[in-house]
Amino acid sequence: MRAPERIQALAAFVIKEMRHILRDRQTLTILLLLPLAQVVLFGFAIRTDVNDIRLAIVDAAPDDATLALRARFTGNGRFRIVATAATVDVLEPLFRRGEADVALVIAPGLARALADGTPARLQLITDASNPNTGTTMQTYAGAVIRTWQAALPGARQGVTIEPQVRMLFNPTLESVNLFVPGLIALVLTLVTAQMTAISLSREKERGTLEILLVSPLRPWQIILGKVAPYLLLAFANVVTALVAAWVVFRVPFRGSLLLLLAASTLYALVGLALGVLIAARTESQRTAMMGSMIGTMLPSTLLSGMIFPIASLPWPLQLVSNIVPARWFIVIVRGIMLKGAGVVHLWQELLVLTVMFTVLLAVAIRSFRARLA
């Protein structure tokens, strides 16, 4: 076949594929509305930032310094003081009954310690029954203490804070801002990896792949024709997610839209290659669906840092998270959206995704044979 005919055949394939997508109205509607629904639902439901933190203060010997510190908490809109006591004995019943979220324990002699430059002892106790909000509350309280500390005259390095909470690192202050990048990754994974896997395995199941294989179409034409329409759909989804995030939650967008779309394309290509790979290795739509669920959706949600911070994962899972494309993509999107980061800052992550794409594509084309079996 000559080159113009190859292009014509590819174009016919893309048109055919778009017809499949457009005629399956229900799936198309779901796919188009998905980013919107996800941004709204996740944005409202899984917020890890907290307001109205109930604070108990144990101040054994009040002096100027302790009062100043307490005033910092009172003045901060997020904290509401539910108890002030002289001994730590009150804390346990308060926590157990769920009447306090955070306790600040100030050791006696704070003012003198500050004046002498000897270590002053502050203790933060946080209800970490919900580790995510616990960490956030811990972070807020720590921030208040640091502000207070920064305003101290002179010897400010003398204060030692002893946080008492299961250590979780979450640098967040506004969770919805952090979720949107994760959601973009999730939607892209769904539309690219899962939909391609399903659509390609459908051809297998229907027997149409057998006819396509007997035709002069080369494997690259079949793969390209298959993924091109989904790339368009992925683009539409990224834009929907960004607009929804801005309209509903005023999530800032500080970086380059062009860079974000380019990075999304790269990530979508990784997903598409994964989808082709999954379809090549599975026999039915159902197994392809399960395969893409376990192989792409779950890691993209759980091991990507979208919901659970990577640092809070057990070390074997931290290692595994390195091969999850979403992990790198989320860093890129967060960087672009929230910090206005450019290629200079993100080249490593972009490089990782490029390498992943190259490897996956090579493996996918190898597994997608020109013959059966």
Binding site: F13, T208, V214, P216, A373
Partner: protein, 320 residues
């Protein structure tokens, strides 16, 4: 016809899937312009044979050529020049009749218009429904669409895997008429079927059973391969007749065929009248009523049953 010009040639082709032998030492050649039938029960290896010829599978041993090209080495040239209709309806149910046809034309680097004259006799029958989704067509119409899609790029050899399975009797007859028209235009056609009665519509047939070719011949000549005298036997009750006949010392085979039984006798040189008398007496003595015995000419199905029997005997003997 010499082998060099045969469009389809298989020599010693063997294909196994795990421990299952799908094809075992298959050798055959199909002549140019021939309507060649692969006849045999499901699971006999017919589909595997098609998949090797259409370059979808690689044989474990032996060679196969289509249009003089090797199915392993020259797959891209073969794919351009053959048409294939798999056993299952394999078109896009959510695309219309015309969209399916135009898609497959483009895939082969051609257009519906360029291939129109070759498919016209078939396509014109479904053209009034060209806007209809392929999934909503009747069985016979789906089959015509699939055939049009397999023909639109003007293939030189057409492979049809059980095209009439699951199609009503009238559509089946029409379909074979279409195949004869196509053959008249010079196309070489290889078609498989599990129906013995369709074998008569082929120029030559290969009887396929458990991966082996039992016989290759013209349909009429295959029946003549039946090695023994054959009789149609009628008796009431039918089941008791079968039992009694099978117990007859000279019986080689007793198979039900419609209303009657086909009985073959071991004594090849004995006069048919003598066999008839003995069978009537044997059955009468066992309480069978309305006994009628007439000598008949063996058909392709009789030959197939006999060959299958020999084959399984040989297999058993080989295993023992």
């Amino acid at each position: 016809m010499n082998q060099a010009s045969s469009p389809v040639v298989l020599e010693g082709v063997r294909k196994t899937f795990g421990s299952t032998v799908a094809l075992d030492d298959v050798t055959l050649d199909v002549h140019a312009g021939e309507l060649f039938g692969l006849v045999g029960p499901d699971g006999g290896g017919k589909t595997t044979l098609f998949r090797i010829l259409t370059t979808l599978l690689v044989p474990d041993a032996g060679t196969a050529t289509v249009l003089g090209r090797d199915v392993v080495r020259d797959l891209w040239e073969i794919r351009r020049r053959v048409g294939y209709m798999p056993g299952r309806f394999s078109l896009y149910p959510d695309l219309s009749v015309e969209e399916n046809l135009r898609f497959f034309a483009s895939v082969f680097g051609t257009t519906l218009e360029k291939g129109y004259d070759i498919i016209a006799p078939i396509y014109q029958q479904i053209e009034p429904f060209k806007e209809r989704r392929a999934g909503q067509l009747s069985g016979g119409m789906k089959q015509k669409l699939a055939l049009s899609c397999a023909l639109v790029h003007r293939p030189e050899v057409l492979f049809l895997d059980e095209p009439t399975t699951g199609v009503d009797a009238v559509s089946r007859r029409e379909f074979w008429d279409l195949l004869h028209d196509l053959q008249a235009s010079g196309l070489t056609i290889v078609v498989s079927t599990p129906y013995m009665d369709e074998a008569d519509r082929c120029d030559r047939v290969a009887l396929v059973q458990t991966g082996r070719i039992l016989a290759i011949d013209e349909p009429g000549a295959v029946g003549a391969r039946f090695p023994r005298p054959l009789f149609a036997v009628h008796g009431v009750p039918r089941h008791a007749t079968i039992e009694a006949l099978r117990a007859f010392p000279h019986a080689v085979s007793v198979h039900p065929f419609g209303d009657t039984l086909h009985y073959s006798d071991a004594r090849v040189s004995l006069a048919p009248a003598q066999v008839i008398t003995e069978v009537r007496e044997w059955l009468g003595a066992r309480g069978i009523a309305e006994v009628a015995v007439t000598p008949i000419a063996p058909g392709i199905e009789d030959a197939f049953m006999a060959l299958m029997g020999d084959e399984s005997d040989a297999t058993t003997a080989g295993a023992a």
